[in-house]
């Protein structure tokens, strides 16, 4: 019984890794306006949760509704851990610090799959990635990959983050920064 449970856990882990590495699939196709011409960043420590908003708005440039499936960082080192990616209603986020799920009840999270953007429209949803950095360093988060479904087909596209995070080692006893709720 124990062996079966271990095999089961192992299989789950393998599937999770496969899921992470291959992504939800579909072909590349731009459905949201790509944002350029900005550079942003912040300096944080290894205990901070850094919340980075995907450049708003997710303006749907196509004639079909687009539903999100997932959002992931592109080409980042292993020291970058994405804690969660949620959609929110209301205000977008530049870069702020804090565990929004715990500290900002007035900014409730929704699954990305709730995000449905009508044709030729701005989304009222804002997507925020909560990230931690377990090693000091300079991290360039250039792009995210947005997975979506539109017109019955799955697809994905890049969106620029143009973000540089400088991470310092947190001294013992350092508390995570909390800048405030959006």
């Amino acid at each position: 019984m124990k062996l079966i449970r271990l095999i089961g856990l192992g299989l789950t882990a393998v599937l999770m890794v496969m899921g992470c590495s291959s992504g939800p699939g579909g072909g590349e196709g731009v459905v949201f306006a790509v944002h350029t011409g900005f550079l942003q960043g912040s300096t944080n420590t290894t205990v901070d949760v850094v919340d980075i908003g995907v450049p708003w708005d997710l303006y749907n440039v196509t004639a079909h509704s687009v539903r999100l499936r997932a959002v992931s960082l592109v080409s980042v080192p292993g020291a970058v851990h994405v804690l969660n990616v949620y959609a929110h209603q209301g205000m977008g986020v530049g870069i702020i610090e804090g565990d929004l799920l715990k500290l900002c009840r007035q900014y409730p999270p929704y699954p990305l799959t709730d995000v449905l953007v009508p044709p030729h429209s701005d989304s009222t949803w804002k997507v925020v990635l909560a990230i931690t950095f377990i090693k000091p360093g300079r991290y360039q988060l250039g792009r995210v990959k947005i997975y979506y479904t539109t017109n019955g087909h799955q697809g994905w596209q890049y969106q620029n983050l143009n973000t540089i995070i400088y991470v310092k080692a947190a001294r013992q006893g350092t508390k995570p920064e909390f800048s405030g709720c959006p």
Binding site: H35, T36, G37, F38, L39, Q40, G41, S42, T43, N44, D51, G53, P55, W56, D57, M91, G92, V93, G94, I95, I96, E97, G98, E177, F178, S179, G180, C181, P182
Partner: protein, 351 residues
């Protein structure tokens, strides 16, 4: 379309003293004192000197009776529509078929003006600025008129910063905002298009051998200007100066958020501790009064690029009371003048 005809020449009325007596001169946002320090009101840059009912501005006085469609002989061509070649007056008339059509340009004056090319806004615990490095480009308006006295904005031409010693503003703040101006040379040019004999000297002297087709005056920018007398080629209000603080108090902080509402709300985003944002794409604000000659306001706008980016850097301060969130927090609220902060706004302001 309707063609504006040549008109009686009033260029002789455009004197320095007459220009300096105008509303446009005295209220120019880049008005300077005797030491070439800018003492104008920044808010005027977002407006324009007064225009008449046809959209014209008088360089050396005020004139609400001007009609650009009345020709030199008093004929009103306002209801005459031209089709096809609207430059028909420059077809060779009988007897001039073997002549050549030449544009003659006569310099009437050259002057320099500080010209606003952009701005920056810093609030409570930030620093930042607006770069304007070698390679930066702006679009500066050319004004055109038929009589040398009444002008209207007609088109932009590109102005390039060729001065490697200029780099703009950096490290300004906190509680400061300012318009960045560059010293630019301008020319008033009288252009005459005329048919002149092809076998003689290529000059226009209004005699029987010459046929005048069209006459227009232009106020057009030249190159960056540095007379070398110690003043700054590029300038902005000193942080904490009256001009800087006045602009900040109108555009940033609680007042700025309120003055810009509801745009400030729709285009709002928070940045936390030790963050920064630089906008380096799109176009900056289009100033209708970036400089002036008499009542003629010069238009200018700047192309954002890596040479002309507005950047703000924030520290890790905490507010006892954040008037936007209504709580104690450390958020730095940023809003674009016409778009969200990462959507290439023309300007972004701070709370």
């Amino acid at each position: 379309m309707t063609v504006t005809p040549d008109q009686a020449d009033l260029d002789y009325l455009d004197t320095e003293a007459a220009e300096e007596g105008t509303y446009g001169y005295m209220n120019s946002p880049t008005l300077t004192d005797a030491n070439d320090n800018i003492i104008g009101t920044p808010a005027n840059a977002y407006t324009s000197p007064p225009t008449d009912s046809y959209g014209y501005q008088s360089i050396a006085g005020s004139d609400n009776n001007y009609n650009p469609y009345v020709s030199a002989d008093g004929t009103d061509l306002g209801n005459v529509s031209a089709t096809g070649n609207t430059d028909v007056s420059c077809n060779a008339p009988p007897g001039f078929e073997n002549d050549v059509l030449i544009q003659f340009n006569y310099l009437r004056w050259d002057k320099w003006r500080y010209t606003i090319v952009g701005e920056y806004h810093i609030n409570w615990d930030g620093t930042g600025g607006l770069s304007y490095e070698q390679g930066a480009t702006s679009n500066i308006g050319t004004d055109v008129g038929a009589d040398g006295y009444h002008f209207h904005f007609d088109f932009y031409t590109t102005y390039s910063n060729t001065d490697s010693s200029a780099s703009g503003v950096a490290g300004a703040g906190p509680y400061t905002a300012g318009q960045v101006s560059v010293a630019v040379k301008y020319y008033k040019i009288h252009s005459i298009w005329a048919w002149v004999p092809s076998n003689g000297p290529r000059t226009y002297d209004a005699d029987a051998d010459d046929h005048l087709c069209k006459s227009r005056y232009f106020i057009i920018h030249g190159r960056p200007y540095d007379p070398g007398n110690g003043f700054m080629y590029i300038t902005w209000p000193a942080p904490g100066s009256d001009a800087s603080h006045d602009m900040w108090s109108q555009d940033d902080g609680t007042n700025g958020f309120r003055n810009d509402f509801p745009r400030s709300y729709h285009y709002l985003a928070p940045y936390g501790a030790n963050g920064f944002l630089c906008v380096m794409s799109g176009k900056g604000y289009t100033y209708g009064w970036a400089a002036s000659f008499g009542n003629v306001g010069i238009h200018a706008e700047t192309d954002h690029s890596s040479d002309t980016d507005q950047c703000d850097y924030w520290k890790a301060g905490t507010r006892k009371f954040d008037a936007i969130s209504g709580k104690k927090d450390g958020n730095h609220w940023v809003w674009g003048s016409n778009a969200k902060p990462r959507d290439n706004p023309k300007i972004f302001a701070n709370y």
